[in-house]
C-alpha cells in the first residue's frame, strides 16, 4: 500500500515511515501542508495520514481542497485536540477517520488498512464468508459448517463488522465506534468480554479457531 504521511513533527513522521515500511507499506512523508497537498494531488496514494496542525497550511484545509478537486483518497486525520467536536469537524471537512494523539501504532495501522479496503466495494455485500463461517445480512443468520448459530442483535453486528474486515486487524476502539457508535475509551475490558462471548458461540464445538486475538492490537477474523 502506498501511504502519504503529512506530519510536521519530523521524529514522529520518520517513525511512522519506518513502522509502516516494516508493516509492508510504502510511506512518503511531507512536513508541511503545501508540500503535502502537492504530493497528494500528484502521487497515486492509497491512504493519506494528515496531521491537523501543520505549518503553511492546516490539515483540514488540505483535505477540503483535495475533496474540492475530486481527490477521493481516504484520509486518516491525526490530531492532538481530540474533542468530540474536533472529530465531527474533521470528518465534515472530508476526513474518513480520526485518531487522537497519542495513539498506538497498532491502532493507526489497523485503521489505515481498513480505510484502504473501504475504497473497494465490500461494504455493500450482503453475504460474508470466512472459511466455513457465513453471515447473511438479509436473513440475519449466521452459520458455521452449515449449522445455524443464534446470536443476539449486538453480537450479530459485532460479527458482521469483523467479517467485513476479515483478514484485517480490528482494534477495540474501532469495535466500540462501529458497533456501539461511541467514541470514548472504555475504562475496562468491556469489548474483550463481548468478543470472547462471541468467540464462544462461533468456535465452541467447531474445529479451527477463526476469531484471533492480535496481541497489543485487537482482533482478526481469519480462516485457518
Amino acid at each position: 500500500m502506498k501511504i502519504l504521511v503529512i506530519e510536521d513533527d519530523r521524529e514522529a513522521a520518520d517513525y511512522l515511515k519506518k513502522a509502516l515500511a516494516e508493516a509492508g507499506h510504502t510511506a512518503h512523508v511531507a512536513f508541511d501542508g503545501e508540500a503535502g497537498f502537492a504530493l497528494a494531488v500528484e502521487g497515486d496514494y492509497d491512504v493519506l495520514v494528515v496531521d491537523r496542525m501543520l505549518p503553511r497550511r492546516d490539515g483540514l484545509s488540505v483535505i477540503a481542497e483535495l475533496r474540492a478537486r475530486n481527490v477521493g483518497t481516504p484520509v486518516l486525520i491525526l490530531s492532538a485536540l481530540g474533542e468530540v467536536d474536533d472529530r465531527v469537524t474533521g470528518l465534515r471537512a472530508g476526513g474518513d477517520d480520526y485518531l487522537t494523539k497519542p495513539y498506538a501504532f497498532s491502532e493507526l495501522l489497523a485503521r489505515i488498512e481498513v480505510l484502504e479496503r473501504r475504497t473497494g466495494a465490500r461494504e455493500v455485500e450482503t453475504h460474508y464468508r470466512v472459511g466455513d463461517l457465513e453471515l447473511d445480512r438479509l436473513s440475519h443468520t449466521v452459520k458455521r459448517a452449515g449449522q445455524e448459530i443464534p446470536l443476539q442483535p449486538r453480537e450479530f453486528r459485532l460479527l458482521e463488522y469483523l467479517m467485513r474486515h476479515a483478514g484485517q486487524v480490528v482494534t477495540r476502539t474501532m469495535l466500540l465506534e462501529n458497533v456501539w457508535d461511541y467514541h470514548f475509551d472504555p475504562q475496562t475490558n468491556v469489548i474483550d468480554v463481548h468478543v470472547s462471548r462471541l468467540r464462544g458461540k462461533i468456535e465452541k464445538g467447531f474445529g479451527a479457531p477463526v476469531l484471533h486475538t492480535v496481541r497489543g492490537a485487537g482482533y482478526m477474523l481469519k480462516a485457518g
Binding site: 467536536d85 465531527v88 469537524t89 497519542p102 461511541y182 475509551d185 472504555p186 475504562q187 475496562t188 468480554v193
Partner: protein, 471 residues
Amino acid sequence: MRLPAVMKTTAARLSALFLILFALCAAVLVAYMSSLSVRMLTQQTQDTIMAEMQGLDTAYRRGGLPALVRVVEVRARQPGANLYLIADPNGRILSGNVESIEPGVLEIEGWTQDPFAYRRYGESDDAAARPRHHALALVLRLPNGMILLVGRDLGEPEKLRDIVNHALLLAFAMMGIGALLIWFFVGRHALKRIDAISEAGRRIMGGDLAGRLPVSGSGDEFDRLSENLNVMLARIARLNDGLKQVSDNIAHDLKTPLTRLRNRAEAALAGKPSPAEYRAALEAAIAESDQLIRTFNAILMISRLEAGYSAEQAGPVDLAATVADVVDLYEPLAEEVGVGLAVGEVATATVAGNRELVGQALSNVVDNAIKYSAGSEDAPSVLVSLTRRGGDLVLEVADNGPGIPPEDMERVTERFVRLEQSRSRPGSGLGLSLARAVMEFHGGRLELSAKNPGLSVRMIFPGDSKRHGEN
C-alpha cells in the same frame, strides 16, 4: 495646551463645565427677568404720567394757562410729587418743581426716549455733591407755544436694576462655591473610590488573588462595578484553583505511574535479560503508558467541560436508548465478574445535550458500580433505572457493594480521589469526576447517596432540560 494636574481629573473638568453652563443659564435668565421688569415699570410710569397729563389738560381747558399753572403749583408741592414744569417757548422755566433740566429735553415733543437728568428745587444746597436724578417725561406744547412737561423719577427701575445686578453677582459667587463643592464631593469622593478600586486592582495583579475590590454598601454605580468585578475575580480564582488542583493532581497521580514506568525500563536493562523478558518489560511499559494517556485524556476532558467548552453537536439525547446501549455494553462484563446488571423502570425521555458525553458518563458510573459491587458476598447486583422525579429526570445506578463511608461521600467526585481501600483496583480515579463534570456541563448534577448496603449514584437532568453552556 497643558492643563494643570488638577484639571486633568474628570471631576474638575465636569465642575468647570457645569460652572460655565450654570453661569450662562443664570445670565440669560437674569437678563430676561430684568428687561421684563424694567419694561413693566416703564409702562406703569407712562400710565401714571398719562393720567396726570389728562388732569392738567382738563384744568387748562377750563381756566386756561393760569388755571394750569395753579394746578401745577399745587401738585408740585405735594410730597413725593411727580415732575411738573411749565416753560416759555424759549425753554425758560416758569413754573413747576424742576430747577434745571438736561438741555434739549424741552425741545422734544411727546415721550422722552432716554432718561434725562434734572434737578428739583430745594436740592441746590449741595448740588455739586449729589447726583442728579433721572426721569422719564411727556413733553407737550400748548397752543400758545408754552411747554408743559410731566415726568416721573426713574429711581425705582434703577433701584431694581441694582438689585438685579447684585443678585447676578451673588448667583455667580454661589455658583463658584457650588462648583468648588461639586469638585470637592464628586471629585474628591469619586476619585478616592476610583483610586481605591485601582489600588485594590494593583494589589490583586501583584499576586493577592484573594483580594477583592472595596464595596461601600451604598449600592451606587461604584458598588455595582466593584460587585461585578468581584464576581469575575471570584470566578477567575475558582478556575485558577481548579487549575492548581489539576496540576497538583497531575504531579501527584501521574508521577507515580511515570516513576513506575521508568523503574521498569531500568530494571529491564539491568542484568542480562532474555528476549522474552525484554518483551514482557516493553509490553508492561506500553500498558503503563496507555493508562497514563487515558488518565491524561480524562483530565483534559474534565477541564474542558468545567471551563464550559461548548459542544457544537448538541442534539437530542435519547436517555432510554443510552441506558440500553450502556447496559448492553456492560452486561457481558458484569456477568463475567458475577454481578447481576439489571434495568429497572425506564421512562421515555430525551434531553438536549451530547450523546457521547452522556453515554460516557453513564458508562463510567456503571463501570464503577460493577467494579465495586463485584466483591460483595450476597448476590452482587447493579440496577440502572430512569425515572421522572418532580420535573427532573433521574438516571440512577444503584449497587449493593460496600458503598462509601458518609464522610467520603463529597470527596469521591473530586478529581483523582480514590478511597484508600480501592487504591489497588484499576482505574484512573477520574470516572466519577468525569461523570460529575458531564452532568454539570448539561446543567444537571451528580448525587451520591448511601443505599445500605451499597451506593446509589444519581445523574439528575433538570426538568426543563436546558441547553448546556448557559450560565
